[in-house]
Amino acid sequence: MTEHHGAPDHDMTGHHEAPPRESPPAAARRAPVETAKAEPVHYQGRVHELQKELMNAYYAELTDIAKGRSPKKNAHLLIAGNPVELVRAFDMVPVFPEVNVLQIAARKASLPLIQKAEELGYAVDNCAYVKADVGLYLSGYEAPYGTVPKADLLLCNYVGCNVYLNWFEHLAELTGAPAVNIDIPFIRSADGEPSPQDIAYVVKQLEELIGLLERTTGTTLDWKKLQRTVELSAYVGEMWAEIKALTQLRPAPYDAYFDSVTMMAVLYCLRGTEEAARFFETAVADLKERAALGKGPLPEERFRVVIEGPPPWPFLRVFRDMFTRWGAVAVASTYSTVGGIWEFGFRHDPQRPLESIARHMLAQNLCNRTFLQRYDQMARYVDEWKADAIVIHSVKSCRLFSAGQGDMREYFAREREVPTLLIESDLEDPRYFSQAQLRNRIDAFFEALTQRRITAAAAAGGVA
């Protein structure tokens, strides 16, 4: 989830419209956008640097395993509400294909991998994360950041996304690695709470998983170690929640979409470790300091938005700039909750490790909650984080996120009267990023918001 500033975004050939550098749209010309005139914004800070260090070390470890230099076992698992604490408790290293392939996309190297999979018969309409991962496997798991080890265990935590099931089933057939599905019943209750039977069922599967991990590693579970891992997760969850609350301030000290992804890398890949705890201690301190100084990520925070949907990894920087030029800062994002929702109070519980892991998997992440519960989550963001608007980034690959987002727009724009923008591209496949079109849509949206403010101010002035 690192941002790679070395690689310019306009470097891609042929698959998107040329950026309108020469003639900015009329909207942009008219808008009094300070940041658009200033030097390019540098988004990186201390947190980014530290993240890079940790992620490099993480990938160095994966490479060591892949090259046979480390005896450690690994499990491939998925981001949405995962039981990484169990994996860590066995001293296994978790491998997250989603993180692997999004980093490749961010380095603009995903297309050849996607095409490799398409040659095998994968459809253009299949989730490109899966295709890139299959392509990566077919390329000997050699990635720009290191080598991914072949799985000792394919641990499919089926949390919401049905594509997860296909994905690991395919890996099992292609690689021959042993695979298990952890079946997480989707939330069916109106209050979003799992039933006691839901929890008991998941705990039972986690117990079976412990047996499997014991056989995979040839060790037995150290219960104390599991408790410590869960405790570290709870600690990190606490700090992450604190960080999330900071964007309720004006200005928000960081961007809850674009900067969150930096922290999410550590939150997901290293949750349950001491390193992650140290990282978040630094992040909390750093961001609190920024908040105390009234510093935001941009020179001026003009619009506070909630962003829904995953980012377009191959064009992250370009995409971010499209908001920056309007002084738009994300104060909350749904994407930052795919792995877990901590901002509303959930914490892992070291006294009841398996039950709390089960709760996390069942109900405390975006993916296993209903589409309407996502509407509620977003409405809370709008109200409690005081957002001016919603931006829905609809990605073709991920139907878990996108299917039905037209209805979501309808709900927010019509029923809640929150200005809502719906734009489309993809999270991994660069062929679906139409830069000029996106920029025009975003410009038109913020211009309309600006206009609305001017009108409102005039009306208020008239009354006074």
């Binding site: 999979a117 095998l120 018969g121 994968y122 459809a123 309409d125 299949n126 989730c127 899966v130 089926y158 919401g160 996304c161 049905n162 594509v163 099931l165 296909n166 089933e169 395919h170 099992a172 057939e173 695979a179 298990v180 599905n181 952890i182 079946d183 019943p185 989707f186 069916r188 039933s195 039977q197 008991a200 069922y201 039972k204 599967q205 079976e208 209903t370 589409f371 309407l372 509407y375 609809s394 073709k396 139907r399 878990l400 996108s402 299917a403 039905g404 987002q405 037209g406 209805d407 309808e410 709900y411 489309e424």
Partner: protein, 388 residues
């Protein structure tokens, strides 16, 4: 459209138009006659016995086919979402789902799941019930948990009909559906054995009839048709033998199915309307009926692209079916934008190539009404098989 060259089956004649009628005339008639409620089941598999036991008519919802224009739903679901999701929502917007007092959705794929939410929000008066189907077939807790889920669904359905089914009610409904499914299995076996006796277009019409008819009423109709088809004096034509796979959820138009046959294929096996005949054998009727249904789903059901059983790869299942049916080839007939179907294609292709079984990839949309291109593709494929 000529379905056969000899005497048509009366039930097929009677239902040929009705199966595509989104006015659901027979459902309305059943409701008038019985004064009871009806529940629409979105594909693939639905625990219909429970709907039935709660005193209601379970009805398969297969989108709008090519029967209506999209006017509302395509602003809710994007262009890259399969047609059945959008057309089912469209049916609700134009009030064609009026005969249904509740809807059942199941954990088959991400668009179908979000559809359940969108439906619930826009049409709160019609209860949308979401059913979780287990995906860890190997867990020792799966059967018990899924039985619990079915009981939960029974309570929800009971709230719609005003009658939570007793265990006896469920057992009775299992008996009724066992009988109906057993006739369907017989019909499938007849077609596999003597494909000239029963065309797939006929078989499809019969099976589709069973998706909106009380099993107590459809079973005798299927039995009649089975008798008539068995006694037909049919001479086999010069066709290739194929297994069709990929249409387990969104359904191809009947004309397309007939077109594939007329282009020179005997279809020996397929996954059309798969959920309605998912169980390989009768569901046992001694003991806890919910547990029996759960076990049948986990251990006694056909392969389905929405059921991820790591114990037995689906591609191996397809190869086994092709072998058992002495098929010359496999036709993958997948719904456009159907993620689970399209994923499976990649694995099927790999397995079929390894086994040296030729295959043809075709993509359809329920809303299509021109079949020339697909027919030409099939004809070319058949020719290459017969003459090259």
């Amino acid at each position: 459209m000529t379905l056969t060259t000899f005497a048509p089956l009366p039930v097929v004649e009677e239902y040929r138009e009705i199966v595509e009628d989104r006015g659901y005339p027979t459902v309305r008639e059943w409701k008038r006659r019985t004064g009871r409620a009806a529940v629409g089941s979105f594909p693939v598999y639905s625990p219909v016995e429970i709907t039935h036991a709660a005193g209601m008519l379970p009805v398969g919802l297969f989108g709008a086919g090519n029967q209506i224009e999209m006017a509302h739903a395509d602003s809710r679901f994007q262009s890259f979402i399969c047609s059945i999701v959008k057309s089912t929502l469209e049916l609700a917007f134009v009030d064609k789902l009026a005969p249904f007092d509740a809807l059942l959705f199941h954990s088959i794929c991400d668009p179908a799941r979000n559809l359940a939410s969108v439906m619930a929000r826009n049409f709160p008066e019609r209860r949308a019930i979401y059913v979780h189907l287990p995906q860890n077939m190997a867990s020792s807790g799966a059967a018990e948990y899924y039985a619990y889920e079915l009981r939960r669904v029974a309570a929800e359905l009971g709230a719609v009909s005003g009658r939570v089914p007793s265990d006896e009610d469920v057992l009775e409904s299992i008996v009724a559906f066992n009988a109906m499914r057993s006739r369907l299995r017989d019909l499938y076996a007849l077609r596999a054995e003597r494909p000239a006796n029963l065309s797939t277009a006929e078989l499809y019409t019969l099976a589709r009839m069973a998706t909106f008819t009380d099993p107590l009423e459809s079973e005798p109709l299927l039995a009649d048709s089975l008798r008539s088809a068995t006694t037909r004096d049919a001479r086999p034509k010069d066709r290739i033998r194929v297994v069709v796979v990929g249409s387990f959820c969104e359904q191809p138009p009947l004309e397309l199915i007939a077109g594939i046959e007329e282009s020179g294929c005997y279809i020996l096996d397929d996954d059309f309307l798969l959920g309605w005949r998912l169980f390989r054998t009768d569901v046992p009727v001694d003991g806890d009926p919910y547990l029996a249904l759960a076990r049948a789903y986990l251990d006694g059901s056909l392969h389905a692209s929405t059921k991820h059983d790591l114990r037995v790869p689906r591609a191996a299942g397809l190869v086994a079916s092709a072998r058992a049916n002495r098929a010359d080839a496999v036709i993958f007939l997948g719904a456009k934008f159907c993620e689970p179907g399209l994923f499976d294609y990649a694995l099927y292709r790999r397995a079929l190539e390894q086994e040296g079984i030729p295959h043809l990839f075709l993509e359809f949309e329920e809303k299509m009404w021109m079949y020339d291109r697909i027919r030409t593709e099939v004809e070319t494929f058949v020719e290459s098989m017969l003459f090259v």
